[in-house]
């Protein structure tokens, strides 16, 4: 056989092989295409369903806040919760999302107003719309947290003004720092689902609001002691907590924005364990402190556990989750008492639950993270980063919130008149009565 023939045969074979490989690869790519497309679809539906669950948390917040306040203000609370979500959805679409996730510098993003951008910088596989709706409901959560601390005495117009600014600017900027590639992200801060980004921002703004507003009439006595102004419907408050817990399964596991990331399962577990531990510990501590297992504190304890685990939900183990949640459930009780001692009147405990436990949870990551946590041999650097993040966000959210509320107070007026407060905001702000058929105690017993 001549070498030419051999060569020829060889060439032929090579050629054919290459052809086949090419053919194969082409098909394989097509194939790959379907599987890859499926993966994107899985991530998309996961993100959307999580977003829907987080949306539903709005109902939870509304019920908790209404349940923990008096009947004469229930309609106002509905309106605040409905409108901070509604107006928030619009302004976050207009500018907030661009500030948070647009390209920009390490302080703020500046492209993609009205979603007029592909947001290639995010490197997402899922449609930007899916990511956007998920972020919208997160933004609205931060806003609505504030509502609770300012309940029963805030001028409705003033509240609306505030709520637009937090969703348009205060929250997105922090979001950019931590989730949008900003300076805290660069430092390596771990805040997986937003103990700090969402909850502390809301909580510290709430603190500013409660301070600027001052306490409700009748909340504190001249000797500095506090009076109880019991919430009008513990059953609705409990329903709200169940709804929030339910929604948190979108909040935390959904923050992967990927259903193909199987850590969603362990995230769901740490979320649930922390909430459970928070409720149990709050019940135990309240039982010891007050002699009886306190309903409203236990409810707050579950929320505290949830807020506490939110930063580290993907970074800590199950036992750590139990510890973090349990500590949060204890902390929230002392925090509520602490603010009461300072005569900062927060009717639903929003500052304690979201601000304090959000900060605690973020710092706890520095201790408990299986990778980088102090207790797991990761050294102190993560912890320091976490503390810096918590501090920076406190300064930003509290500072800006304080300034904002002062401005609103000066321009629109932040607080209703004493007469309106006594009559109830349902009538004064909305000309309504939320329970016209029921006899409502005209004076809570005491």
């Amino acid at each position: 056989m001549s070498s030419r023939v051999i060569k020829s045969k060889f060439m032929q074979t090579i050629l054919m092989t290459l052809t086949l490989v090419g053919l194969f690869s082409g098909l394989a790519l097509a194939q790959d295409g379907q599987a890859a497309a499926n993966a994107v679809a899985i991530d998309t539906i996961w993100t959307l369903i999580a977003a829907f669950l987080v949306f539903f948390m709005q109902a939870g917040f509304a019920m908790v806040e209404a349940g923990f306040t008096r009947a004469k203000n229930a309609g106002n609370i509905i309106m605040k919760n409905m409108m901070d979500f509604a107006s928030g959805s619009l302004v976050f679409w207009a500018v907030g999302f661009a500030f948070m996730f647009g390209s920009g510098n390490s302080f703020i993003g500046s492209t993609g107003y009205f979603l007029q951008d592909a947001f290639a910088n995010l490197g997402l596989d899922i449609p930007i719309a899916a990511f956007f709706i998920f972020q919208t409901v997160f933004a609205a959560t931060a806003a609505t947290i504030v509502s609770g601390a300012m309940a029963e005495r805030t001028n409705f117009s003033g509240y609306l003004a505030y709520s637009v600014v937090i969703t348009a600017f205060i929250y997105p900027v922090v979001g950019h720092w931590i989730w949008g590639g900003g300076w805290l992200a660069e430092m390596g801060l771990v805040d997986f689902a937003g103990s700090t980004v969402v909850h502390s921002v809301g909580g510290w703004a709430a603190l500013a609001g409660a301070i600027v507003l001052g306490p409700r009439i009748g909340k504190y006595n001249e000797d500095g002691s506090a009076n109880a102004l019991p919430g009008h419907n513990l059953l609705m408050a409990a329903l709200g907590v169940f709804i929030l817990w339910f929604g948190w399964f979108g909040f935390n596991p959904g923050s992967t924005v990927a259903g193909t990331d199987l850590s969603i399962a362990s995230i769901a577990v740490t979320t649930n364990l922390a909430a459970a531990a928070g409720a149990v510990m709050a019940m135990i501590v309240s039982w010891i402190k007050y002699g009886k297992a306190d309903v409203s504190m236990t409810l707050n304890g579950a929320l505290a556990g949830l807020v506490g685990i939110t930063a580290g939900t993907a970074a800590v183990g199950n036992l750590s989750a139990v510890i973090i949640g349990g500590l949060a459930g204890i902390i929230v009780i002392y925090a509520v008492e602490f603010f009461d001692k300072l005569q900062i009147d927060d009717p639903v405990g929003a500052v304690s639950v979201h601000g304090v436990c959000g900060a605690f949870g973020t710092i706890a990551v520095g201790f408990f993270a299986t990778e980088g946590g102090l207790l797991f041999g990761g050294g102190i650097s993560l912890l320091i980063t976490q503390i810096i993040g918590v501090a920076a966000v406190f300064v930003w959210a509290f500072g800006l919130g304080f300034a904002l509320f002062k401005v609103i107070d000066a321009v629109i007026g932040l607080r209703v008149s004493e007469e309106d407060e006594i009559e109830g905001l349902d009538y004064s702000e909305h000309g309504a009565d939320s329970y016209p058929d029921f006899m409502v105690n005209v004076k809570a017993e005491n």
Partner: protein, 112 residues
């Protein structure tokens, strides 16, 4: 005519109505009130603040009757609601001048 008002424990209401029905009372009114008296209130806790409730839930039963029936009814009330513990309540008797049945326009005893 006399007005008999009995301030009683809520959980005795049924007993009392049974008893009064048994002795043939033709009508009465029930009002929910809150009472302050020697029976002290209790303490509740809400979000770390303990507060004293000094009023107790009570029921006021009001019956307008012929003055001749007062003693029998007072005795019946005592029997039906007495526990012997502080907080059993009071009976007040006062005067009523006239009674009118709206449906028929009857007045006085006939209206009861």
């Amino acid at each position: 005519m006399k007005r008999i008002e009995a301030i009683i424990r809520p959980n005795k209401t049924d007993n009392l109505i049974d008893k009064l029905e048994a002795i043939g009372i033709s009508g009465l009114n029930i009002t929910e009130i809150k009472g302050y008296g020697s029976q002290k209130g209790h303490s509740e806790t809400y979000r770390g603040v303990t507060y004293r409730i000094r009023l107790r839930k009570k029921i006021k039963v009001e019956i307008i009757v012929e003055y001749t029936e007062v003693d029998q009814i007072v005795a019946a009330i005592k029997e039906a609601v007495r526990t012997g513990e502080v907080g059993d309540g009071k009976i007040f008797v006062s005067d009523v001048e006239n009674a009118i049945r709206i449906r028929t326009g009857e007045e006085g005893t006939a209206a009861l």
